[in-house]
Each structure stands twice: as C-alpha cells, then as structure tokens.
Symmetry: C2
Subunit: 245 residues, 2 copies
DNA sequence: CGCCTGCTTGATGACAATCAAGTTTAGTGG
DNA sequence: CCACTAAACTTGATTGTCATCAAGCAGGCG
C-alpha cells in the first residue's frame, strides 16, 4: 500500500481540539502552535508500529483503528477510535501499534514536545492526559477478557454494543441504525475470529431476531437487554444505552 | 476466600519507593506522607474490581496479578507484576481489575490524592506516572495479539520469556533457573488456555529440549533463540536476554 | 502414613478454522 | 441505463485442534 502524505487542511473550520474538548475553554498558552489538523483517507496510515513517538492524535471525525502484526501477516486490531478519542501518550519511545484510518478522518495531531510543555503549566490538562491513558487501558483489559475467555457469540455481542456506543457519540441521540465503518475482516481481526465466523454469527443473530441487517454495513440492535446479557460486559454501559420506544 | 487486612510494616527497612525508584533522589515534599508499605500474603486481595480507586501500588518484593472475572467464574489474568512495577493511575474512577498477591509481597501504597498533589509540583514525576501507564498499555497490547492471534505454543513461549525477564529483574544477572510463582491455572487464565493444555505444552517443550523442568515451578530455558522465534514477539526483548555461557 | 491439592497424561468430542463455492455490492465504462 | 468486473460478503462441507471428561501421579503437611 503506497504511503501518501495526508493533506493539511484549514484548521479554522474546526471548533474543537484536544484542549478545548477537555477543558471547555478556548485559549491556553501554546494552543495554536500545538493545533494541527490533518485529513486522512481510508486505509491511510497515520503512524507506523515501531516508529518513534512524535505526536498524539485526537480523532475529530471519522473512524480509526490501531493494530499489531506478526511477521507472517497475522493481525490483531487492538482498538477502534472515534470522535473525542485520544491515541498516544507524550512519552519517549516508539509506537507499539500502527494507526490507520478506516473512513475519511480529520485528526488533530498534537506534538509530543508541546504536550509535555503544556503539562508543566497546567495540572488539569495533565490529569486529562492521564485520564485518556486510563480509558485506553480499561478498553484493553476489557478486550483481553473478551479474547481470552469469551465465546465467539459473546465477543460479537460485545462488539456490537461498542459500535452502538460509538454511534451515539458520533450521531448523538435517536437513530437506531448503526453503521459499521469497518470490514468483516477488521471485525474478525478485532475479535480474534475469522471473517467467515463473524458472518455466521451475524447471520445467527439476524435469524434469532437479535439484530436486523439492513445492509452489510448497517444494522439495528433489536434487543439490547439480551445483547448485554450475552456480551457479559463487566463494565457498566447502562448510561450509554438509549431507551426503548 | 476470607479477606484479612494486610499488616502494616515498618517502612524504615525499605530504602526504595515509587519516588526514589523513579527519581533517584530521596526527598520530595509530601514524601513521607505518601509512603506506606504493606505486606500481603499469597491469595490476599489488594484491591477489588469496581471498587473506587484510592491508591496506586508499587510492587517492592514478590509477585502480584491483576484479573477480571465474568459472573460464571471465567477469569482472565491481565497481568503479572514484580519489583518496580506500578499498578494503577491517580484518576477518579473504579478499578477495572482485581489485584491479588501471588507470593508474599511488600507493596508501597501511594494514595491517589497525594499522587495528584505531587504531580502538581513535579513535572518529572508526572512524566514517570505517564510512562508507567504507557508500559501497562504496551503490555496489554502485546497480550491482545497473543490472545487473539497466536497459537497456544507461541503464547507459552512468550510467557516463558516474560518470566525470564521478571527473574532477571528480581534476581539480577546470572542464574538460569526461572521460578514460576504462579500456578498452572494462573498461567492458563493468563494465556487464554486450560491448565491441561498448558501442561501438555510444557511437556512438549521439555521433550523437544527447549526447556528443562526441574520442578513444576522451576525451569531452565535451554534455547532462547528458538523460544524467541517461536514466541513471535513484536517488542524488542533483546536487551533483557542474558548471554549464553 | 495417608490425605489433599496441584500437576500430568490419556481418550473423546465440540466447535471454530479451513477450504471452497456462491452471492451481493460497488465501481467502471460503453 | 445496463453490462461487466472485482471485491466483499455469505453459506456450505470438512478437518484439526483444543476443551472437556477422566484417571493417575507427585509433592507437601498434619
């Protein structure tokens, strides 16, 4: 896959950034220097595994994935990220994952150096950075029990509920139609299954009325309660579940 | 399992703490107030999943594990920790894992409040906190590709190399004998296998000469090169591999 | 010594991976 | 607008592998 440099776009059209998002105010020392929004195309790579860490990335729009690969091509997707998610930490070291855009995505790239400087002057900001690390770590642990101990059905159920969560973030309120921006292969590489198995479970859930498949990338969750029960989620997702009508 | 409060022990006999460990100096404002070393017995629980976060824990001696459980008893061990490892972050929220001692362990408990206060006054200290979060996150991602995409043989190989790393930290230099403080069941719950499968792979590795089993909890790695190749580790572990004689 | 717990080995079966064949969808050009 | 192509998705048939069930073994401790 050829690497094409992402286009730098006008930052003025974006009202949000890492700092405003977390701080709910608009001006901080060094703000404009840090801010740097880039637009990425599907399948475009944002950062490579093992490259030195230079930035942390805040997703503004679109969906992004992180993954690790083995030398023989086996791949594990370690996370999907949408609006508001922050990938990376301002530390010296190398990325232990590749970051790749799934859809068109605008991403705010914060330089590590500037982040460090900002941390010195603003304790609240520092806490937000640590909070984002905590979020990533919670996700990772949830995924570990999924991969290590849950059945394929449970993993897919958990995945679907996660998708719903993202949907409610990107398109707040209403709308029960959930879009899956990622391919079946991506879902398989996230859940530790094969794409055929993912398909079969989707079909099974459809037959049992648990979900409705409008298209291969659009579905409706018909029975959240059942899905939640099946997913065996240990984290409390109740606050993000829209009410039934 | 009955919960018994850990014994508070004399802090004077310990020369190291989170701060001195990371900072290489001995006095920081609030230092003595933060410092609080407790001793835990095997199988004693240090913190429960879903309890509010009150402390972060720095392992001084012994081995500790974190795990998540499903309501039907399935368990995933998400990490093992030894001397120098830090578990937890100074954020508001709840532990998303249970922390339990495997061996006798002395643990420095740093109160979240004090940690936050310390972060305000010392940017270097803050960076160390973030670094420890980064380390935990790297481990988690490595474990995700292990659980999701590696074969049982590869997972055990990776696990054994990790054990060696811990051994070289706890007992620096020489000594090729590696002690496994955890049970077969623990290894199974860490690698996403069953204890019978773990046993079989141990036996297979033994038959092939890859390892020597002195006792069920003591072994020697006879062929690091082969083991590394088999483990398919994406992180660079070369610096922690002792030389052959 | 005998019991108990943890570890090891064996036999069998369930289930997801694999291999293979369709089917749908999206994109392209006449 | 439709024909054609390629890629993504879905379904089917078979196999291999790890979980399961079961039995034996070894070490630790009263």
């Amino acid at each position: 896959m050829p690497y094409t440099a992402p286009a730098e776009i006008n930052t003025e059209q974006y009202s949000q950034s890492f700092i405003t998002h977390f701080e709910n105010r608009k001006n901080i020392a060094g703000y404009s220097k840090v801010r740097n929004i880039l637009r990425y195309h599907p399948d475009q790579i944002i950062a490579f595994e093992n490259d030195p860490i230079t930035h942390l990335y805040e997703i503004m729009t679109g969906t992004v994935k992180t993954y690790k690969m083995l030398n023989d091509g086996r791949r594990q997707i370690t996370g999907f990220y949408t609006k508001g998610d922050v990938v990376g930490l301002p530390v010296d070291g190398r990325y232990f994952y590749t970051i790749e855009a799934i859809t068109e995505a605008s991403i705010c790239c914060h330089s590590k150096i500037q982040m460090k400087r900002l941390m010195d002057s603003d304790p609240d900001f520092t806490l937000k950075i640590i909070k984002s690390a905590h979020d990533r770590l919670r996700d990772a642990h949830e995924q570990m029990i999924s991969l290590g101990r849950k059945t394929p059905d449970e993993r897919i159920a958990a995945f679907l509920l996660k998708c719903q969560k993202w949907a409610t973030i990107q398109i707040p309120a209403q709308n029960f139609i959930i879009s899956l921006p990622m391919s079946r292969m991506d879902i398989a590489d996230y859940t530790g299954l094969r794409q055929e198995t993912v398909c079969r479970i989707f079909s099974k859930f459809k037959r049992s009325g648990l979900i409705t498949l409008l298209r291969s990338d659009q579905l409706i969750l018909n029975d959240h309660r059942q899905l939640l029960k099946l997913a065996n989620l240990s984290e409390d997702n109740s606050e993000t579940i829209p009410r039934y009508h």
